[in-house]
């Protein structure tokens, strides 16, 4: 009997292990200690990204003989998993193009910004973004690109529904959505699925004086203004003024429908035109206006988003020289503005700012930047909070109680801090 049992356990183990125990993890090593070869992990924004970096690196290597940059392109959907693997297996790249930095800074993995770029480059960053790049009062990362959000609306649908002015307030949004619904289209496209629930929610909450933290910087996710915001969005959903199931709809779905002229209003960014509207329906007659406010008397804010370049400490600082050379090379005005123009993003440096303002579409976003409010990315707990928001915030406009959902996220935030 005993032998049978041991046999059975052994057989069970082998079968179970064979299938469940397979770990994943592939990482290219290539640890160069001469300090002249660096590894740069860049995010794929679209099809133009890789050709841009390839050309830039070729140019850099030609002008700095002996230096070499190994480029690795990573898709945004893979990025978080990859970055964790890099850190855990101690194979961090020298430079990482990412959207977070504060937990690396807290764990002592990053150079200070002043160590890896020249003073001239450092002083070229726009102060708003420098503030977002600080951890404990010290700048640890380099603002790379930025983006802002505005309200997009379909002018043809507005005309059909008999609406003359772009929406300014929350009440306008609801009233306009009702009119648009009568024409058979969807009034407002509300993406609260996991792709970017945190951005959509914050775009609304900030214009009701809500947000992630209170004035002292403490987490205030379950504050009354936020509950109020979710109740408003829930009402839009329950009144049938949004697309079905906002809790599982991603931004790209909403913008594909908007591009096809089936949605009246949706919040988008500078990338929305080149990424969604032009490829699907270049003749779409749309307008862009500020984000709607709860109180007609208050000033509209916009959601600011910033991606960064993180410079990792490696080989006792031997890589610093090469990293600095490459970063200073990239942050030259022409290189930065070429990247921004290709990808449809907003600048983080003063010198590249002027180049974009000549395009009337982009100018609206550049002009909105000074009113930007940012997610608290300089708080190391933010990525856990954003993760919790992505997973569960959407359920509050479906069948869960908004207050309860926010309470849970607040708990996650306090636990992670």
């Amino acid at each position: 009997m005993k032998r049978h049992l041991i046999g059975a356990i052994a057989a069970g183990l082998t079968v179970a292990l064979g299938v469940s125990g397979c770990g994943k993890g592939s990482s290219s090593g290539g640890d160069d200690s001469d300090g002249k070869t660096i590894k740069f992990v860049a995010a794929i924004y679209d099809d133009n990204t890789k050709p841009f970096w390839d050309a830039l690196i070729k140019d850099f290597e030609a002008k700095n003989s002996g230096y070499k940059v190994n480029l690795e392109m990573v898709d945004w959907t893979q990025m978080d998993a990859k970055v964790k693997t890099y850190v855990q297996t101690k194979q961090v790249p020298d430079i990482l193009n990412y959207n977070a930095f504060s937990d690396f800074a807290r764990d002592g993995l990053l150079y200070k910004a002043s160590e890896v770029v020249s003073p001239a480059t450092l002083s070229d960053f726009t102060p708003t973004f420098v503030e977002q790049a600080k951890f404990n009062g010290e700048q640890y990362t380099l603002p790379f690109i930025s983006s802002a959000r505005l309200m997009f609306y379909n002018k043809d649908l507005f005309q059909k529904a008999g609406i003359t002015d772009p929406p300014k307030t929350w009440a306008d949004i609801k009233a306009d959505a009702q009119k648009i619904k009568k024409t058979g289209a969807i009034g407002y496209g509300l993406p609260l699925g996991p792709e970017e629930a945190q951005a959509e929610f914050f775009s609304w909450a900030m214009n009701d004086n809500g947000g992630w933290v209170d004035s002292s910087g403490k987490w205030a996710i379950n504050q009354p203004a936020n509950v109020d915001t979710l109740n408003f969005l829930k009402d839009l959903n329950k009144s049938g003024l949004t697309q079905p199931n906002p809790e599982s709809t991603d931004r790209k779905t909403v913008f594909n429908q908007f591009a096809q002229g089936k949605i009246g209003m949706a919040i988008g960014g500078p990338f929305t035109k080149a990424g969604f509207i032009t490829p699907a329906n270049p003749n779409l007659n749309f307008g862009v206006t500020s984000l709607p406010v709860k109180n007609a008397s208050s000033q509209p804010n916009t959601l600011g988003v910033m991606d960064v370049l993180d410079a990792f400490k490696k080989n006792d600082g031997k890589n610093k020289e090469a990293v600095k050379k490459f970063l200073d090379f990239f942050y030259q005005k022409d290189n930065v503005s070429r990247f921004l123009a290709k990808e449809g993003f907003l600048p983080t440096t003063k010198s590249a700012g002027d180049a974009l303002s000549s395009d009337p579409y982009m100018k609206q976003f550049v002009d909105a930047l000074p009113t930007s409010k940012f997610a608290p990315t300089s708080n190391p707990a933010w990525s856990a909070v954003a993760g919790a928001v992505k997973q569960s915030l959407g359920t509050s406009v479906a069948d869960k109680d908004p207050k309860k959902v926010l309470d849970e996220i607040q708990q996650t935030a306090e636990k992670a801090s």
Binding site: A8, G12, L17, S20, D107, N245, S392, E408
Partner: protein, 308 residues
């Protein structure tokens, strides 16, 4: 067995030689032992070790955390529903797959013109990547442009588009169907192999004794298929338990945790909640669950008497 002259039992071989002889089998067993140790045991040890560590959100290991990761895991409100859903997911898929495969296996075993083509056709879902199959189904079920809605609208079964993957219950049923769909080829071919190993004279004897088709199937075919059914269902249980791509591609476990199984929940703990240690604890729990399920199943079916 014939022995060499030097190994006559009368003269006892030296200790060294005896050890040497005892080690000889290692030459043959060695590579597979090393293989098992490296690709099977080592990752499991790593997994258990990680579940006891404190790992920061950036991925840096900050030291030992004892059982705190497990406490965090068992404090999750979502855990119990997720585990129950996983069990339902596994049971539902495996039972439906086995029943359908028994029928398909029978069909593939029958002689009819074009059998070769049908056999190939059954293999196709197996050859296609699971992720691809899941994505294709996701688009077929799309609220706005999916073909499923189009067909049902044209047939007047529904009067407005249904967002199939937006509702947890419907989404779960559709995903289980996709999982059945991708499990069918393997399972039906195992059944087919089992059917072909049943000797023809047993059936002949049954016919002589006057057994009808029904009696023959339940009296002879099914009992003799037991080993094949056993193997196929164990492998399916493990596969389905660990199935990640279908759920991840179709609903990502959402809305909330409403369509999560332990595998997607584990992923979310690590990459959404930034809690690698707790995720590893979930992995250990998942592993133990599979182990227990397989053992219970083996005990219940008394496999040792069947698979020799």
């Amino acid at each position: 067995m014939k022995r060499d002259a030097g190994f006559r039992p009368a003269s006892r071989p030296s200790l060294l030689r005896r050890i040497g002889r005892a080690l000889v089998p290692l030459l043959w067993l060695g590579p597979s032992i090393v293989l098992i140790a490296v690709v099977v045991l080592w990752p499991v040890i790593e997994m258990v070790r990680t579940s006891l560590l404190k790992i920061s959100s950036s991925g840096v290991t900050l030291g030992n955390r004892g059982s705190a990761n497990y406490t965090d895991l068992f404090d999750e409100d979502a855990l119990v529903p997720v585990v129950l859903r996983t069990l339902l997911w596994v049971a539902g898929i495996v039972v439906v797959t086995m029943v359908l495969s028994l029928a398909i296996g029978q069909l593939l075993n029958a002689r009819f013109p074009g059998r070769r083509v049908v056999r190939w056709a059954v293999i196709v879902p197996w050859a296609a990547s699971v992720l691809m199959t899941a994505l294709i189904w996701k688009w077929m079920l799309d609220n706005y442009s999916g073909i499923v809605n189009r067909v049902l609208l044209d047939l007047h079964v529904i009067d407005k588009p249904v967002n199939w993957l937006g509702h947890p219950h419907q989404a779960m049923i559709w995903m289980m169907w996709v999982a059945v769909f991708v499990s069918l080829p393997f399972t039906s071919f195992v059944i087919l192999a089992g059917l072909q190993s049943i000797p023809g004279d047993v059936y002949e004897a049954a016919r002589v004794d006057g057994a009808g088709a029904f009696r023959t199937y339940f009296g002879i075919t099914l009992p003799l298929l037991r080993p094949a059914v056993l193997i196929a269902s164990i492998i399916n249980v493990i596969n389905v338990f660990n199935s990640f791509p279908i759920i991840w591609a179709m609903t990502a476990g959402g809305p909330g945790h409403a369509t999560d199984t332990t595998t997607t929940f584990m992923y979310k703990l690590a990459f959404y909640d930034q809690h690698v240690g707790e995720s590893a604890a979930m992995a250990v729990v998942n592993f133990v669950l599979i182990l227990v399920m397989v053992l219970v199943y083996l005990r219940a079916t008394r496999w040792r008497e069947e698979v020799r």
